[in-house]
C-alpha cells in the first residue's frame, strides 16, 4: 500500500486537483450556466494565494479561504454582464474572461511576475490535505443537491422559463451558480499554487479549459460521481497508455470520442442512472400490482 502510494502519488495528487476544478465546472452546468470560466477563477485564486504566500506573512488559514473568496468575487462580477447571455454565448464570454485574466497576469509584471509567473511558493499541500479539501468540496456539492438551492439549480438547468414561472429569479440563481463555481475554482487554484512551487499564466490557458471540460463531459454533468470518474479516467489514462509513447495523446482522443459517443451522459452519470434504475425496479417488483393496472387503464 505504501509502495503503491509513493509510486502513484503524483497521479493521485493530479486526480485530487482536477477533481476540485471539475466540481467548479460541474456546479455551473448544474445551475444551467454553460460557463467555462473555471480556469479564470483558478487563476484568480492561484495568483492571489501565490502572491500572499510569497510576499506576506499572512497565515495560511487566511490565505486559502482568500483564494476561494476572490474566485467567488470573480464569479459575481462576471455574472453581471453575462446575465442576458445563454448557452454557447456564455461559453464564449467566459472563455474571453479566462483570456482577460491571463492577459492581466502577463501585464501586471511587478505583482504577478509576468510570463515567468510566481516562483518559490512554499509547498504546504500534500496528498492528505488535498484529499481533505476535495472531500470538503464533495460535501458542499452533496449538500447543495439536498437543499432548495439544488432543486432550483435543477429546475433552471431543465427549463429556465419553467423555473421563472415557479417564482425563481433566473438572474439571481445564475449569479449564485457563478459564485459557487468561482469559489471552488479559486479555492483549488490556490491549493494548486501551494502544491506546484510556481505558477505561470499559460498554466490556465486553453489546455486547462479543455482538460476540465473533458473531465466533466467524460464523467458526467449532474451527479457527484461524475467528476470523480472523469478525473479518475483523466489521471489514469496517461499511465495506462504510457507504453504507447508518442501515440498517447491520440489514444486519449480516441477513448474520449468513444466515451462521448457511447456514454453521452458520461461514465459517472450513466453508472448512477443504472444503479437507480435497478433499485427502483427491485422496489417496484414488491409493490402491489392492482394500482398499477388501474393507472395503466386510466392514463394515456
Amino acid at each position: 500500500m505504501i509502495h503503491f502510494y509513493y509510486s502513484y502519488q503524483p497521479v493521485i495528487d493530479f486526480f485530487l486537483l482536477s477533481l476540485g476544478f471539475a466540481y467548479s465546472q460541474q456546479i455551473a452546468l448544474r445551475a444551467g450556466v454553460f460557463s467555462i470560466g473555471t480556469a479564470g477563477f483558478a487563476a484568480l485564486g492561484g495568483y492571489l494565494v501565490a502572491i500572499l504566500a510569497t510576499r506576506t506573512e499572512v497565515p495560511m488559514w487566511v490565505i486559502i479561504p482568500a483564494g476561494a473568496a476572490i474566485g467567488a468575487l470573480g464569479g459575481y462580477v462576471l455574472s453581471i454582464p453575462l446575465a442576458r447571455l445563454r448557452g454557447a454565448f456564455v461559453a464564449i464570454a467566459t472563455l474571453a474572461f479566462v483570456k482577460v485574466i491571463i492577459a492581466l497576469a502577463l501585464y501586471f509584471e511587478d505583482l504577478t511576475g509576468g510570463a515567468i509567473g510566481v516562483t518559490n511558493i512554499p509547498r504546504i499541500m500534500d496528498t492528505w490535505s488535498l484529499a481533505l479539501m476535495a472531500l470538503l468540496v464533495i460535501y458542499v456539492n452533496w449538500s447543495i443537491g439536498r437543499t432548495t438551492l439544488g432543486r432550483i439549480f435543477a429546475a433552471l438547468a431543465q427549463d429556465e422559463s419553467v423555473a421563472a414561472s415557479l417564482g425563481v429569479s433566473i438572474r439571481r440563481y445564475h449569479m449564485i451558480g457563478f459564485m459557487v463555481s468561482g469559489a471552488i475554482g479559486g479555492l483549488f487554484g490556490g491549493l494548486q499554487s501551494l502544491y506546484v512551487y510556481n505558477i505561470e499564466p499559460n498554466a490556465f490557458g486553453f489546455a486547462f479549459v479543455v482538460t476540465i471540460l473533458t473531465v466533466v463531459v467524460l464523467g458526467g454533468r449532474t451527479t457527484l460521481l461524475g467528476p470523480i470518474m472523469g478525473a479518475g479516467i483523466m489521471a489514469i489514462l496517461p499511465e495506462v497508455a504510457r507504453p504507447l509513447a508518442d501515440n498517447r495523446t491520440m489514444v486519449n482522443g480516441i477513448i474520449m470520442i468513444l466515451v462521448i459517443t457511447f456514454l453521452p451522459r458520461g461514465v459517472g452519470d450513466t453508472i448512477v442512472d443504472a444503479v437507480r434504475h435497478r433499485w427502483r425496479q427491485r422496489r417496484g417488483a414488491s409493490r402491489p400490482q392492482k394500482q398499477e393496472v388501474a393507472d395503466a387503464v386510466a392514463s394515456d
Binding site: 432543486r151 422559463s161 415557479l166 425563481v168 429569479s169 394500482q291 393507472d295 386510466a298 394515456d300
Partner: protein
C-alpha cells in the same frame, strides 16, 4: 376585477400573435379561452406570465401592471401558470416537485397544504417518492396542478391541461379543477378541447388569429351554431 387585460398586442419572432386582446377575469371565476391552433391562446397566457415580452396594452392584476414586472415576480404575486406539456421536473421526486412549487410563495402565506394537494390527487401521495418523469401523462398533469397549488395561486392559468390525456384522465383533471374553483380559486383555462372547456367554465372568450372574436357565457357559446361549426366540430 382581478385580471384586466386591455388592448394587448404581442409579437415575437416576427409573428403578430395578439392584435389587441381585451378580457377580464373576476375573482372566483372560471373562464375558458378557446380557439383553434395558432389563435394566440398560449401566447396570451405566456404574456400574462411574462414569459414572452408584451407589446402595447395593459395587463393589470389586482391593481399591479404586470407589463412592468418580470416572470418570477409575476409568479410570486400568485399568477401561476400550469404550462403546456406539464413541464414536470423529471429527475426530481413527486414530493420534491411539490416542494419546488412553494418557491412561488415569496413570503405570501400558503393557501393549500401538502395534504390538501394529496386529498385532491391521492395518486400523488401514493407516488410521492417516485421520479416525476416516470409518471403517466395524466399524473404529471395532476402534479403540475399540485405544484402550482403549493405556490398559493390567486389565479391559476392552465395551458391545454387535456393535451395528450385519455378522456378518462381528462375527466379526473377537469373534476379537480372544478373542485378548486368551487372552493373559490380563480381559474383561466386555455383549451383546444372547446367542448370540455365550455362544459366546465362559466364564461369564455373565443380567440381567432390574435383577436377576441366572441365572448359570453359558456353555456350560450356551447349552443351557438357558429361556434359549434367552427370549434366544436361534429
Amino acid at each position: 376585477m382581478m385580471l384586466d387585460i386591455q388592448n394587448l398586442y404581442v409579437s415575437y419572432q416576427g409573428i403578430k400573435a395578439l392584435r389587441g386582446v381585451s378580457l377580464q377575469v373576476d375573482r372566483g371565476e372560471m373562464v375558458a379561452i378557446i380557439g383553434s391552433n395558432g389563435a394566440g391562446k398560449s401566447t396570451l397566457l405566456n404574456a400574462i406570465s411574462r414569459l414572452v415580452p408584451a407589446g402595447e396594452g395593459r395587463i393589470v392584476f389586482n391593481g399591479v401592471d404586470l407589463r412592468r414586472s418580470i416572470a418570477h415576480k409575476v409568479a410570486r404575486l400568485g399568477v401561476l401558470q400550469v404550462p403546456e406539456g406539464r413541464q414536470i421536473l423529471g429527475e426530481m421526486t413527486v414530493l420534491e416537485n411539490l416542494q419546488v412549487g412553494q418557491l412561488a410563495l415569496g413570503g405570501r402565506p400558503a393557501k393549500y397544504s401538502l395534504s390538501d394537494v394529496y386529498a385532491l390527487f391521492p395518486v400523488l401521495e401514493e407516488r410521492h417518492a417516485q421520479l416525476g418523469g416516470t409518471l403517466s401523462g395524466g399524473q404529471q398533469q395532476m402534479l403540475a396542478i399540485g405544484r402550482a397549488m403549493m405556490g398559493a395561486p390567486e389565479v391559476l392559468l392552465l395551458d391545454e391541461p387535456s393535451l395528450g390525456l385519455s378522456p378518462l384522465m381528462t375527466d379526473q383533471v377537469f373534476a379537480a379543477l372544478g373542485r378548486l374553483n368551487a372552493d373559490g380559486l380563480t381559474v383561466m383555462l386555455v383549451e383546444q378541447n372547446a367542448h370540455r372547456a365550455l362544459e366546465l367554465t362559466s364564461r369564455a372568450y373565443v380567440l381567432d388569429r390574435g383577436l377576441v372574436v366572441r365572448e359570453g357565457k359558456s353555456r350560450d357559446l356551447a349552443d351557438d351554431p357558429s361556434i359549434i361549426a367552427s370549434y366544436l366540430g361534429v
